[in-house]
Symmetry: C2
């Protein structure tokens, strides 16, 4: 156990913060609620971005960039949207500073007040649909399949690194369609892209579902989501895809001429994932020794550490290591030889464990004599002695094995932590004792959902898409229900 | 000549705007001074980013991300910096909106006033050096070689798409070093990276030089730059690399313990290029028919257009085109077959000319009979009939030829437009009649430089790095000078 890291059982929340800070993923900043994403954390984000961007482009999307600022009045155009987003946000009121009279700094120039305040985008539906108005005239202009990689700001009162920060990085897709059906298909397609990314790249199993009205995106007709389970039994929403109906088209008067020469409002979707996914990645897989990163996303996949007593030994090891590295790099595997002489091997072992590097190869003089090396997997900590002639075949196979094992472990954990309960007592007991996803009957009303949240802090995470219909009675009100929904406490 | 585009001779400025708008690179937005970068323009930026990012990583840099907001007091810490950057900027004063009393929208909540205003970053030296303070303790922590891809905001009064916008996208490198020499080497290394990128990728020749004190970055000891010449004879600063000395380390108290166990201030550099480069790319190469994009950065390198009278012909052409495309894609060439039946071939020819696609291949039924196709290069508009069996060899070679020809053409133009003048009369006449870079003697004082700017609008673009020493007298004051410097009117 790494002594620098608080154990999960001691303080889960502190454990998480320790991993973020000591794993060099992010740091606090001088600006309240804003974080600094450090190079190692940013490299992880770049890997996530690269794969998502590829998947977006493969499904026909292109990237564009829209302004950071949104005129205040735009937010008010869509009734539900303004309720959800025009509250806690960063407001630009002035465009100039001037030297203070005492010469001791700068002050806001009262002369430079904006006629209309600008909001730093909390999400971009309004500015984008205002732009689409001039881009869409006819069915020939549709569909528009556009994505944006950007920073957004939501003035959260309680922040946590990656999970909830005032500024965060994300992508937001904003598509425009000629028909309702096409827009719904797009919403579902992008949910599938997110689910595939979460499961195959992040090694995190997710439940695909739709949100209840209470949890829906402000301005959406339907919000689809993927929900993941963290090791402490709390859920984390890992991505959302919204069917926006014609709400934004109506708010910004975006119509098109159909093939039949009629004028109709355009149909919309939006969908996004953010740097929050890094929080999910940490909490889904890591342990008391540090981060455990899935090989497909790890910034560094293999580290080679020399064990030597003198320079001559180091040179021999280095020569061998370089042959191995060349071969691995040819296979697209990222690998580093750490011969930094300021630290001992034991320190390095702990450091790369903390950083979640999937495979560690230790090479000493005796290994060279025996033509072997010691290979250690981060996920299971299993050690094995491998033949150096086979090491470049074993490593790629083992990276695959780690990726699959991490997913399987997370899936087993998730599946073990879905509980069916049939009474409110059982509901509360399960929530307190075990956490996890609780599948329970609910009468379908926002009031009951709100009451359960008030009493237990649990929310309905989603109504799973593959739900089986089943008659029952609501755990709180006893009213009839035709399906179970998934409750959980959530990040 | 494309009728939708104003010719350069009629109105150069309108020609530029036409290319940006009609070439689908960018659009105006509802927010004053902010632009929307459209998918085609963004694809160009992505290609530029990808290559620059690769070059940064090859020179040992890593990416990170720092907050969008800068506390107002940070800007005031470095005396020169505050003069340069704390003036026209977006100021966040509040963090909440609330429903207006009349129920007709939202208003700023006066209760939610920030104790200290936040500035939307115009550049990030201050917030980054405030962060480096906690990252740097010892010489072991140095150098720090960090780059950030980000949006920044400078509240410009007069804006032009790409060239000068309130919000723009850029990268900013911020490095920290143990010695003055190492920091200067880094500054020069990154200037070389920019020059290589401009010349080999953008096909734009540049002059490497240093700025005079008047034109220096606010807070720098020395600003290195690359200067390019546009077709209208005006210069454009295409990238800057700053040696910041210990100015920011002193302002934020960033010291380190040396190998000799002494405490010293850290040495700094910063360097950046922005979406402004897209403006340079347009103005350096394009013509009255539209954009001319260098093959190495063009979002689409080859377009294949079918010329057909019926579906059967189209099918035959398509079959052939698919074979060609498969082969080109294998070589990493981007290619599109445009069989959109809503537009005629002539319209498509004009459209892809406008968009600057380097090569156009037209395929008709007679071509198939003769086993030929018509290939047209965008840069010279030369047409040639090519044998279909050779087309996949000819195309990559011709893309290379276009890239080289574009650079050579721009270099010839630039070299033809460097004028040596020896009197102020000659200076003014050359500036008015020809424009271009004017190499002239200057007495080395900021006052003379300012006076020349006032009288002619020309500024000293740079003192070229490879300048030959030559005795002379200042064109304005007649005082002695030991070298010529480059003057120009500039974007």
């Amino acid at each position: 156990m790494n002594k620098e890291i608080t154990s999960r059982s001691t303080d889960y929340s502190q454990w998480y913060n320790d991993l973020v800070i000591k794993g060099s993923l992010a740091d606090y900043s001088a600006v309240r609620g804003c974080m600094v994403i450090k190079p190692y954390g940013y490299a992880l984000w770049e890997n996530m971005q690269q794969q998502l961007d590829k998947m977006f482009k493969e499904t026909g999307h292109v990237n564009a960039y829209f302004p950071l600022f949104i005129p205040k009045s735009f937010l008010a155009r869509e009734a539900a949207h303004v309720e959800g987003f025009a509250k806690e946000c960063a407001v630009v009121t002035h465009y100039r500073l001037k030297n203070s009279d005492d010469g001791q700094g700068v002050v806001v120039d009262p002369e430079a007040k904006l006629d209309e305040e600008l909001i730093v985008r909390p999400t971009s539906e309004t500015i984008i649909w205002n732009t689409y108005k001039s881009w869409i005239k006819s069915y020939r202009d549709l569909p528009l399949l556009i994505n944006q990689w950007a920073n957004v700001v939501r003035w959260e009162m309680r922040t946590r690194l990656f999970l909830r920060t005032a500024e965060f990085l994300w992508q937001e897709g904003h598509t425009a369609h000629a028909t309702r059906d096409e827009a719904i298909s797009e919403t579902e397609r992008m949910l599938d892209v997110y689910a595939t990314f979460a499961e195959q790249w992040m090694a995190i199993p997710v439940v695909k579902g739709v949100k209840t009205a209470n949890e829906r995106f402000a301005g959406a007709e339907e919000t689809y989501c993927i929900e993941a389970l963290m090791q402490d039994g709390k859920a984390l929403q890992a991505g959302t895809s919204h069917f926006l109906g014609q709400n934004f088209a109506k708010a910004f008067d975006v119509t098109f001429v159909t093939r039949e020469n009629k004028e109709e409002f355009v149909w919309a979707t939006s969908w996004g994932v953010s740097t929050r996914l890094i929080g999910a990645l940490i909490m889904a897989h890591s342990d008391d020794d540090g981060l455990v990163l899935p090989p497909k996303l790890a910034p560094l996949q293999v580290v080679i550490i020399p064990i030597h007593r003198n320079d001559e030994q180091l040179q021999q090891i280095k020569t061998k290591a370089e042959v191995i590295m060349q071969s691995l790099k040819k296979d697209g595997i990222s690998v580093k030889f750490d011969d930094d002489d300021k630290q001992k091997p034991g320190w390095k072992f702990a450091e790369y464990e903390m950083k979640g590097v999937p495979l560690r190869l230790a090479l000493g003089p005796r290994d060279l004599e025996n033509n072997t090396a010691e290979l250690v997997r981060r996920d299971t900590k299993e050690k094995q002695s491998v033949n150096l002639d086979q090491v470049t075949e074993i490593i790629p196979a083992m990276l695959d094995a780690i990726q699959h094992n991490m997913y399987k472990k997370a899936l087993d954990f998730r599946d073990r932590n879905i509980y069916q309960v049939n009474s409110f007592e059982e509901f509360k007991a399960t929530l307190d004792d075990k956490g996890g996803f609780i599948a329970a009957h609910w009468d379908g009303t926002p009031e009951t959902e709100a009451k359960i949240k008030e009493l237990t802090k649990a929310t309905i995470r989603c109504i799973p898409l593959n739900n089986t219909k089943e008659s029952g009675t609501c755990i709180l009100t006893g009213k009839p229900s035709h399906q179970r929904v998934l409750f959980a406490k959530a990040y």
